[in-house]
Amino acid sequence: MKGRHPALVWVGAGLVGIALLALPFALAQAGTAWVRITNFAILYVLLALGLNIVVGFAGLLDLGYIAFYALGAYVYALLASPHFGLHLPFWLILPIGALVACLFGVLLGAPTLKLRGDYLAIVTLGFGEIIRIFLNNLSQPVNITNGPQGVSRIDPFRFGGFDFGKSETLFGLAFSGPVKYYYFLLAMMMAVIFVTVRLQDSRIGRAWEAVREDETAARAMGINTTNIKLLAFAMGASFGGLAGGMFAAIQGFISPESFVLVESIMVVSMVVLGGMGNVWGVILGAVLLSFAPEVLRYTVEPVQKSIFGKSLIEPEVIRMLLFGLAMVLIMRFRPAGLLPSAVRKRELAERKG
């Protein structure tokens, strides 16, 4: 596929680009809620791509990944809300949030370097919970995080007079707040995709591959396995922190409840279901898993009504049931994910043969 029809690839990329640019206006027809849902889907794509570096590239199972998202979100919230009376600009806080998350990534990575697989999963799971519990309890003796009440009235992105929280009309088109965020998120997503794809093809990407396959052999090849694993943790965490900051600004309110274990597992599911190690698969997984529950939310009720004439099962129950069933079916029939990476595909083929 790659490079065989360069002209076709460019045309395809151009069409996708135009579709992505026009998307919010099409969605706005169905309601601003859908633009918001799309924004959250992009945040999940960012998270999944970040986690994919740790899990998919370096092969280190991280079950506490949402902690980095939480750190980024709290850094943003504390530096741009009435809570401390600080209102720093977003272009300053987002990098700070990514940096703080990155530091914590290294902090988590350093003591767990010798752990693999199940053991690493348990430690990272603990780490995720520690961060959440800290956020929940750091309201005493000095009120830092405001505890379970969370932080509210967080500043939206502002750039001079351009406020992401307000609607505006440009070139005769109405740009609502969510639409503005959509374009910002889209740009961020493109940047992160670019970085990830380049990383995968680089020496660093090959080193991650070697570490994932056989750590001792990797060291014997001249790879500094300690640094390369820490780098995976640090990079994954920074992406998470970045996404967290944007989440706080879009949402305007955050509390520890947004960063529970299920969220970590959700992101892992996106990576695994989409296809660990394959950037496009991971994106697909994130988009599907973040849209599916929403689509079901709006369709389950009308479908029930049209078939049975009334609502038999509570929509919320059946929604998660169908969602779970879809995950089971996908993993049953596409065990390496929807778009498996070349190496994973081989792994499974080998096990069968």
């Binding site: 396959e213 001792t216 052999a217 014997a220 090849m221 500094n224 190496v343």
Partner: protein, 239 residues
């Protein structure tokens, strides 16, 4: 000139001393073998030389500089490369990808490609299987791949840990032929083997290791003729 010089090397695992003060030297261009029974401490010695296992005491000098305690990945850059026991190939990567991974410390793409062709010339079998994953190769092919991959980093001193392990006799002979071939191209080799006969036939000098210490060190030919060696390692009864 001495390329590798070891003095009083000790390796401990918890309270157990696996290597109890080993002295050993390898000159540039030599093929030296280290033979001994299972559990004599041969592999531990090799692993301590390249930094995969920490040396508890003693000195390891490579090209005249002390390297004890330096991590393995740094030494690869200086041409000290080990082919680990059990081969350690990347099972999910193809033969070609494995070979490229071997050249990780180099960044001269054109020369790397050329070297890969050289490896294919040395092991035509690997060229036939270049698109196959490492895990699907036979034991002998995996050993060839492991050696080929190590050569991709252009080693000065190659440490081979039991290259004949688990191979059919015909393949063992083939592997030894290749080891000699590599040595004749100017790569210095320290070979650890349980197959004492073949190792001593290939090497110019040999060391015999027994429960953590070197018990004999001599020309390979003399060791081959030594009645103690013949009895203990070549399965011959003397007398």
């Amino acid at each position: 000139m001495k390329l590798l010089e070891i003095e009083g090397l000790e390796v401990r695992y918890g309270g157990i001393r696996a290597v109890k003060g080993v002295d050993l030297a390898v000159d540039e261009g030599e093929l030296v073998c280290l033979i001994g029974a299972n559990g004599a401490g041969k592999s531990s010695t090799l692993r301590a030389i390249v930094g995969l296992t920490r040396a508890a005491a003693g000195s390891v000098r490579y090209k005249g500089a002390e390297i004890a305690g330096r991590p393995a990945f740094e030494l690869v850059r200086e041409g000290l490369v080990m082919v680990p026991e059990g081969r350690g190939i990347f099972a999910q990567l193809t033969v070609a990808e494995n070979l490229v991974m071997g050249a990780f410390v180099r960044d001269d793409a054109a020369a790397i490609r050329k070297d890969r062709e050289r490896i294919y010339a040395l092991f035509p079998r690997l060229e036939e299987r270049h698109g196959q994953t490492g895990g699907t190769l036979s034991g002998g092919e995996q050993q060839m791949l492991a050696i080929g991959r190590a050569l991709m980093s252009r080693p000065k001193l190659l440490l081979l840990d039991e290259p004949s392990m688990g191979l059919a006799p015909l393949l063992v002979a083939k592997i030894f032929e290749i080891v000699r071939d590599i040595a004749s191209q100017g790569v210095t080799i320290l070979l650890v083997e349980q197959n004492a006969k073949l190792a001593l036939e290939a090497a110019s000098r040999g060391y015999v290791m027994e429960s953590g210490t070197i018990t004999l060190a001599d020309d390979a030919k003399k060791l081959l003729a030594d009645p103690k060696v013949r009895e203990a390692y070549l399965g011959e009864s003397v007398g």
